[in-house]
């Protein structure tokens, strides 16, 4: 018998979001709200941008609301009004991305109206959207989420999230890999990276891949081979993990969108773990003037340096 996860609060949360969106659109606080709406397939959800108070009723929150909407504030801005404050519906994990983006001068807090969701979890990407949320169907990231209740938002519905203690799959997998020999790990990742077709969906969906020109697309000089061959794939994923170190807060969108099912977020979470151990830094909890790799202390660890 798998443990079911109580999502009874989601309908009340939906109502609260709708009411709040209607209010802030109606009184002109915001010019648009980015949120989730029901999609065609039963139980599924998709991102939506609404700019009319009347449309607020379309907003929902269900276990199928998996997307990190932060990306609509940086890269996918086509439908977003250029002026005024923008409302956005955020889960705790999405909020961490916004916090990071604020620290990197990509967003300004005063331009946003944050509607936080006391989220108990969403479905894994491999599960059909109208499935019941249980310990089995829960997304891996939600199993070890430390931000069920978003903080610092402008509005959060009063419902409280549930957060049962579950086995932490990412942590377990990281520990498993760490225990292997370098050669075994290389074999593991070689197999994983070999699958990559360089579709760059991971890059497209990542809130932090906001560079206008990616280093990996450059050809003078070519830092990373662009063809989807194992050498270039490996280089791409290493560079991606390095560039996200200290920034990625684990929304795991990269992994969700990967058509080849490469466990991409493992790399990011491993980096996050190292940064916590090395510099006691955790991304996404507060807007920091400097990230862990743009600052230093004189007492940083240098045991690895001869």
């Amino acid at each position: 018998m798998t443990q079911s996860i109580d999502t009874s609060s989601y309908s009340a949360i939906t109502e609260a979001i709708q009411a709040e969106a209607q209010r802030v659109l109606g009184d002109g606080t915001v010019t648009a709200v980015i949120g989730y709406a029901a999609a065609r397939r039963k139980g599924s959800a998709q991102p939506i941008v609404i700019s009319q108070a009347d449309d607020a009723a379309r907003l929902i929150f269900t276990p199928a609301c998996v997307n990190n909407l932060a990306v609509y504030l940086t890269k996918a801005k086509k439908e977003i009004p250029r002026n005024g404050r923008i409302g956005i519906v955020v889960k705790g994990c999405d909020l961490k991305a916004l916090v990071g983006l604020m620290g990197e001068s990509q967003l300004k807090r005063e331009n946003l109206y944050l509607i936080g969701i006391p989220c108990s979890g969403v479905l894994a990407s491999t599960i059909q959207p109208d499935t019941e949320l249980t310990a089995d169907t829960l997304a891996s990231k939600c199993r070890e989420c430390d931000a069920h209740q978003p903080t610092g938002c402008d509005f959060v519905p009063p419902q409280l999230p549930v957060a049962p203690e579950l086995e932490k799959k990412y942590q377990a997998e990281i520990s498993r890999l760490e225990a292997l020999t370098p050669a075994e790990r290389w074999a593991y990742w070689k197999e994983q990276f070999a699958k990559c077709i360089k579709c760059y969906a991971c890059r497209q969906v990542c809130p932090f891949c906001f560079c206008e020109q990616c280093l990996c697309d450059r050809n003078k000089p070519q830092m990373v081979e662009t063809t989807p061959r194992p050498a270039g794939n490996t280089a791409w994923h290493i560079v991606r993990a390095m560039h996200l170190a200290g920034r990625c807060a684990g929304c795991a969108e990269c992994e969700r969108v990967c058509p080849m099912d490469i466990p991409l977020n493992l790399l990011n979470r491993k980096m996050a773990k190292e940064l916590k151990e090395l510099f006691d830094y955790e991304a996404g909890f507060e807007v920091n003037d400097k990230g862990p790799l743009t600052m230093f202390t004189e007492k940083d660890d240098q045991s690895f340096i001869k």
Binding site: E104, Q106, L215, M223, H243
Partner: protein
Amino acid sequence: MSRIGVFICHCGENISRTVDVERVAREVGLLPGVSFSTDYKYMCSDPGQNLLKNAIQEQKLTHIVVAACSPRMHEKTFRKAVEAAGLNPFLCEMANIREHCSWVHENKEEATVKAVEIVGMMVERIKKNRILPGITVPVTKRSLVIGGGIAGIQAALDIADCGHEVILVEREPSIGGHMAQLSETFPTLDCSQCIMTPKMVDVANHPKITLHTFSEVELVEGYIGNFQVTIKKKARSVDEDKCTGCGVCMTKCPQKKIPNKFDQNIGLRTAIYVPFPQAVPNTPVIDRANCTWFKTGKCGVCQKVCGPGAVDFEQEDRLIVEAVGAIVVATGFDLYTIDEKPKGSAIKGYGEFGHGKIPDVIDGMTFERLASASGPTGGKILRPSDGKEPKQIVFIQCIGSRAREKGISYCSKVCCMYTAKHTMLYHHKVHDGQAYVFFMDARTPGKSYDEFWRRSIEEEEAVYIRGMVSRLYQKGDKIVVMGSDIAVGVQVEIEADMVVLATAIQPQKGADTLAQKLGISYDKYHFYSEAHAKLRPVECATAGIYLAGACQGPKDIPETVSQASAAAAKVMTLFSKDQLEREPIVARVREAGCVGCFACKKVCAYGAIEEKEIRDRQGNLIKTVAYVNPGVCAGCGTCQATCPSKCVELDGYTDEQIVAMIEAL
């Protein structure tokens, strides 16, 4: 297509002994792009350089690789030669086949193979080298000196004497700083005012010095050679141009009982005042917080008695903007107080000394004012509490200094000497008195310093007790000082009439705020950081800003004056040319790709990276990007390694050049 010329040097036999130079020249000559390749006995000699120059002309070479010694040795030489032959100097690179090859390997085959590869790497690199025009920055030959103590005065006079304009800004109503407060100075015991006031007058009379007292630096913009400084002239309530300095206003002012900060608050002054009689400028200031007119709207006596009509109650703060090319920071020090410190302060007060609540426990500067002939007691050592002459006096050293548990770990450097001086001044004025000094060590390096300290013990009868004081408390009209004499190993209790604390030297309050305005760095105590502790002790890491005096760390007067003159010399070096020339190894931003995350700005230790707004023709903001100020950039390249999309690039060390070298392997 580039036409690369490669020149292999024998360095006598230094290279050719272990490297087959002919073979290197031959093999390298086959590399694509290499049009000319040769070897020569001594490339750095005149004939060698001529060989290079001629080859450039005759072979129409576009890029040059000289394979010889370390570029640290002769890069400049060959770049000059290349420039003389009409090429941009940055189209010449050196391949180090001596220090990194022939000298460290014995096997000729191995060394030759390595040399070919080293040269090959440089050939690939130079294909990606670009013409780098030299960078010149215009220099405004005026300077700003912040702080009118002895450091600022000395620096201002030195610069002005060289014929350049100086703007001297002082926060207080008069220049002079702490040195003007001192009674006598070690190790010669000459009167501080006697040596100080002439310099103050020189400043006032110098045609090249513009003095702004009662003023503060509000804003600093720009960079080396081109700073714009906004100075706030606080309302003095007295027109400096009209005032003759007759002083009638001060004699008539009815508010006469205001503690005078210059006298460490033991002397009194009026509401309209100059801090001390020899003040420069000799123009009074109205202390608006204590003036009856400003408090009640009545009185106005000073205005009525002022002949020239200089008193102006309506005066307001004024902002003036000055363009300068260099800035000397000489903001000096402040003294540690033993009061209870605010909550959260890393620095703790002295609870064991009653947090400074006993009136006859004073600090060294207060003792200076008591001993000064122009001080509040006319030079008599008298207790602040009852005006009696203290017959037993205890000096305690290292109050705050060298006390990690109190939050300060450094030595304040001057206290040992001035305490020795105090015991002498005391002995000269109170013949039947006894001075005791509690000390940890006596630190007296310096010309005639140790002799001076010995004299205080041997001739002036001061009793030095090695050990610290654990507690002092008031008992009747005495202060009981409890301490230990660790040399003998006993507890000591002295019933003193007065206790003088040698409190630590700290940076001025607000030193951090000023540093932020200037864009210079400071340590955890807020002392300003020099660019290099040993080799660049008067320069800040921020180009064009120099340090003088105790704002950088505790210093005595001779050291302060030396550093002030050194800072002035650095300013003069900058001013010696109309244009500042510098190597064009600086970072540049590719604005098209920059997304303005400013990671580069965060890692730049020089503050060279600014935010730049890009707007369309209608003035709408398109985006904000990074901009590297080439006058400030030092060329370390940390920004480029940090930039995720490599939109900032360090000329001379571009990714293309480096990757070309890696790929050549």
